[in-house]
């Protein structure tokens, strides 16, 4: 019976299903690399989802929608930055509050946008590539946001690994006192990292409301932001593994539904548990060596910085 699942279609739909969490997770990874823990990903995503949706509906252009989603996410992150970086509030509590605030705010501004259909996001025309028999349908027939998200992962990887700015960002995350002593503007760098993370989360939200579900419904992120947070830990703060984690989670989610639809005789409960179970399993395997995990986590993660201390 498993034979009736078409692997080509499976890969194609897992790429779409994973994109929102991938976007949110890669942004959060940069934030955490700078030493800030922002638990408000879910809130930023959903505000990005509704603002992106409204922007796309008002202008008729999906591009404007994604832009609006990113801006709204960044604005939410700026609020978080103001509270934690300027007013020195607790990051965990502020992040949780940001999620609750985002959920409420999004349903307020979303009033009157139920049941509307957004403009369709076009598939990227890759010319001859899309005509390759198997790979074409699998990899080269998606909308441009899927490729943009992959490009973003590569860009973040290269930025952190090879650029001077990336090195400074990592230094801030590892020891903000040392970075400060060297003359780097710790707060400014963290605010910028937060805004980037917010913009990515907003993009992920906009992808949900414009492409994956295409419509606005309240609470539509349904926990995707929390999955993104888990994937950052799962990936031990490495860009390549964020991609792996997001595709693995999205892949298992899609696969379990496909197995059900194909009538495979595995009890449904196990199948629905599978994405979470496998995430936990991989987490256990990855963190088996405690010292390596401790090395990977940014040392200043979640700690506030003030120049006077």
């Amino acid at each position: 019976m498993i034979g009736s699942i078409d692997p080509v279609l499976l890969v194609a739909s897992l790429m779409i299903a994973s994109t929102p969490i991938l976007l949110a997770a890669i942004g959060e990874m940069v934030v955490e690399k700078a030493g800030v823990l922002n638990l408000g990903v879910e809130g930023m995503m959903i505000v990005g989802a509704i603002c992106g949706f409204i922007a796309a509906v008002k202008t008729g252009s999906p591009l404007a929608g994604f832009l609006g989603g990113a801006l709204a996410g960044a604005a939410m992150a700026a609020l978080f930055a103001l509270l934690t970086q300027v007013f020195q509030s607790n990051q965990v509590a502020t992040g949780l509050a940001l999620t609750l605030f985002g959920l409420g705010l999004s349903s307020l501004i979303g009033q009157g946008y139920n049941g509307i259909r957004p403009p369709a996001t076009a598939r990227l025309d890759l010319g001859p590539l899309s005509d390759i028999p198997v790979l074409g349908r699998m990899l080269f027939s998606h909308d441009w946001m899927v490729y943009a998200s992959l490009g973003l992962v590569a860009a973040v990887w290269a930025f952190l690994r090879y650029s001077r700015a990336g090195l400074i960002l990592r230094a801030v995350g590892e020891s903000h006192d040392a970075a400060h002593a060297l003359g780097y503007r710790v707060v400014r760098i963290r605010v910028l990292a937060l805004m980037f993370g917010g913009a990515c989360a907003g993009l992920g939200g906009a992808y949900l409301s414009l492409v994956r579900v295409p419509q606005w419904t309240e609470g539509m992120t349904a926990g995707a932001g929390w999955i993104a947070l888990a994937i950052v830990v799962f990936a031990s703060w490495k860009a390549g593994r964020v991609l792996l984690g997001a595709y693995l989670f999205g892949g298992v989610t899609v696969l379990q539904l496909n197995l059900q639809a194909a009538g495979v005789a595995i009890p449904v409960q196990y199948l629905s548990m599978a994405p979470y179970l496998i995430t936990i399993l991989v987490l256990v395997v990855i963190s088996a060596d405690r010292s390596r995990v401790a090395l990977n986590a940014p040392a200043m993660l979640g700690r506030n910085f003030h120049a006077s201390r």
Binding site: S107, G115, N258, A261, V268
Partner: protein, 369 residues
């Protein structure tokens, strides 16, 4: 005080014995309160309950005050919200999700003068608790017939939420009538284990479409499955669920959209009737299970994707059910294992339906336990 307790106990005993205790005194002004499990903006289940609440206000104007709270979690929070409502002067409280069952009965015990109405439940532990439900399976039967006629791949899908009798009843009604319309039809059931998660609902619909399913009915609350079906560009069809979901009836270019019909939960007649009964003093404890004849289950407008003859057949079935001439579960129907359930012409009784935990013959796969 003691005498009152005694009277209340006696009334309760009487209520249990006769299935209804009369509250003879009418009221001039009623405050009706509603507890919702989701946001009003879900476009489905909660939205329809809210339409019912607004209809009550419309019907009685200044004599009625309505209040509601959205997205109330089932469990302890539900109990807190209901207590708050009871203390704030509500005369009748509608709790609109199965999961509020125990909370409703617990709060009702503390406020014997306030009427409680619990949707889709079966516990009536106090004389002031009534339960109400709708015969959604009547709607499933009609869309099942349409699905059987419209499928080209002979594979139809059911996006199921949780394995409870309510959902299993829907699956059986849908498949039974699809099979009557098209003997070659095959059913694919996918369990999402959620009432409301648009992204997951879309994924589940996608998984079925990838398997060659071309007509899907959903038992979840959002419009996401229809949006996913729309991507097939006229090669797959679906139905509005709980609400009309008319946004998907016609495409932007004017061609028929993916939503070919819909099953609408119409709570307004019931809500208006119950609040009215409270006002004129005829209110009694009841267990209501109404359907098409009472106007609580309505099939939304069928679009032009459905061939005219199929439309006529579906309309004939709607008319027959509404007139009480036809019951969607009329034998012969066998259970999944081939043993007889309903003999020729036999009609299913409500008890069996409400406790339904088996598939009928022809459905493959097992119900998750």
């Amino acid at each position: 005080m003691k005498r009152r307790v005694l009277l209340a106990t006696a009334a309760m005993g009487l209520g249990l014995a006769t299935g209804g205790a009369a509250f003879a005194q009418g009221m001039d002004n009623v405050k009706a309160c509603f507890v919702y499990v989701g946001p009003i903006g879900d476009g489905g289940w909660t939205y329809q309950h809210h339409q019912g609440a607004l209809a009550v206000k419309e019907a009685y104007g200044d004599k009625v005050e309505i209040a509601w709270q959205e997205s109330v979690p089932e469990g302890a929070d539900g109990e807190r919200v209901m207590t708050q409502m009871a203390l704030s002067g509500c005369n009748i409280i509608f709790t609109t999700s199965f999961g509020y069952m125990d909370a409703t009965n617990a709060v009702a015990g503390k406020f014997p003068d306030i009427k409680f109405e619990h949707a889709t439940g079966y516990k009536r532990e106090h004389p002031n608790v009534s339960t109400y439900n709708a015969r959604f399976y009547e709607g499933r039967a009609v869309v099942g017939h349409i699905a059987g006629k419209m499928t080209k791949t002979n594979k139809i899908g059911y996006l199921a939420s949780f394995p409870i009798p309510e959902v299993i009843m829907g699956i059986n009604a849908y498949f039974h009538h699809a099979k009557l319309a098209n003997p070659d039809v095959e059913l694919v059931v996918t369990w999402a284990y959620t009432w409301y998660d648009p992204a997951k609902e879309a994924d589940a619909a996608r998984a079925m479409l990838d398997q060659g399913v071309d007509v899907i009915t959903a038992h979840t609350d959002s419009t996401a499955p229809l949006a996913e079906i729309a991507k097939e560009g006229g090669n797959a069809w679906g139905f509005g669920q709980a609400s009309d979901m008319a946004a998907f009836m016609t495409n932007d270019d004017g061609s028929p959209g993916p939503r070919v019909a819909s099953i609408i939960d119409e709570w307004a007649p019931y809500y208006v009737k119950r609040v009215g009964a409270l006002m004129d003093g005829s209110y009694e404890q009841i267990d209501s299970w109404a359907g098409m004849p009472e106007g609580e289950v309505v099939i939304g407008e069928m679009n032009d994707a459905i061939p005219a003859d199929v439309k006529a057949e579906a309309q004939a079935m709607i008319d027959a059910i509404t007139a009480g001439d036809y019951h969607p579960f009329t034998g012969p129907i066998n259970r999944q294992d081939g043993s007889a359930w309903l003999a020729e012409g036999e009609v299913a009784d409500d008890g069996t339906l409400l406790g339904m935990t088996f598939y009928i013959e022809g459905i493959t796969g097992d119900i998750p336990q």
